[in-house]
Symmetry: C2
Subunit: 168 residues, 2 copies
């Protein structure tokens, strides 16, 4: 079972930016990172007019695009899978999974918090929070490990010590 960390935060809190930096930092450290992005409202991914796009538009339930170094798969599904099911169905070879866009889930979490949004925190201690990435010197809640959101090295250390020891 590949370890899973869920990155949570309000819209515009900076989740994707943090994930980008974490992917790059952990990749430099030698780990293989997989990501899962959830879009409640659906998504478009292919380019209109491409052969694969035409296949899917014509009604194919699954379309695979293959090349010597990269493969893409687009498939219809019958339910809105959770993180665990997505990971077990689609991820076969990674050291850790970073997930974004899932509201309720039992996995360890990093919350990204931007003070200027003036909103409540999304997580409490019962939410399995492993790090709070903040944009200013808010007073760090008791029992929570706070990081400056730009301290990617520190956040990567935290993820590494919890989930990646012995993996590379």
């Amino acid at each position: 079972m590949i370890p899973i960390v869920s990155i949570v935060g309000w819209s515009n809190s900076g989740k994707t930016t943090l994930i980008e930096k974490l992917i790059a930092e952990l990749t430099i450290r030698g780990y293989r990172i997989a990501t899962i992005k959830h879009n409640r409202h659906g998504f478009e991914i292919d380019h209109e007019g491409k052969d694969s796009w035409r296949h899917k538009q014509a009604g194919a339930v699954t379309t695979v695009v293959a090349s010597p170094r990269k493969v893409a798969v687009i498939e219809d599904v019958e339910s809105d899978y959770g993180i665990e099911e997505l990971a077990s169905r689609y991820i076969r070879d990674a050291d850790i999974v970073l997930a974004e866009g899932f509201k309720e889930n039992p996995f360890p979490k990093i919350e990204v918090y931007r003070t200027e949004l003036k909103r409540e925190r999304l997580t409490g201690q019962e939410d399995n929070l492993i790090a709070l990435a903040v944009d200013s010197t808010i007073s760090c809640p008791e029992g929570v490990l706070c990081f400056d959101r730009n301290d990617v090295s520190g956040i990567a250390d935290r993820v590494g010590e919890l989930f990646l020891s012995g993996r590379n």
Copy 2:
């Protein structure tokens, strides 16, 4: 094992158009169609700036985009898989696989032939040809079943009788 049919032909012979029509026709008949498109020179599939694109760009080896009705996966691979390996790795629930863009392969084939390209045929009888889709009344080679390329119903009948009996 899901049956596989390989659609072959020179560039601009009309392969994708035929596949589109076949997907639509077979889907109307109640079958679940999967497709595999091979691009020797690689491909771009996601949209610049989207979260999933940013994940992959940052170095993720696998990126999954999930929604209630559709899932997409983009992953790095270490070799240029053949049709059979791609089908077994990525296609789990379909009645038939239509493959495009693979040169050498042992699977039953439909060749799409456009007279005006003035080229030789791509396949011979040893190539497991099940249908030749042509654009004019060329004289049909002995031992080959020829169809007008617009006779999608006839080509779908041929595919159905060979591979889909009892599947819906």
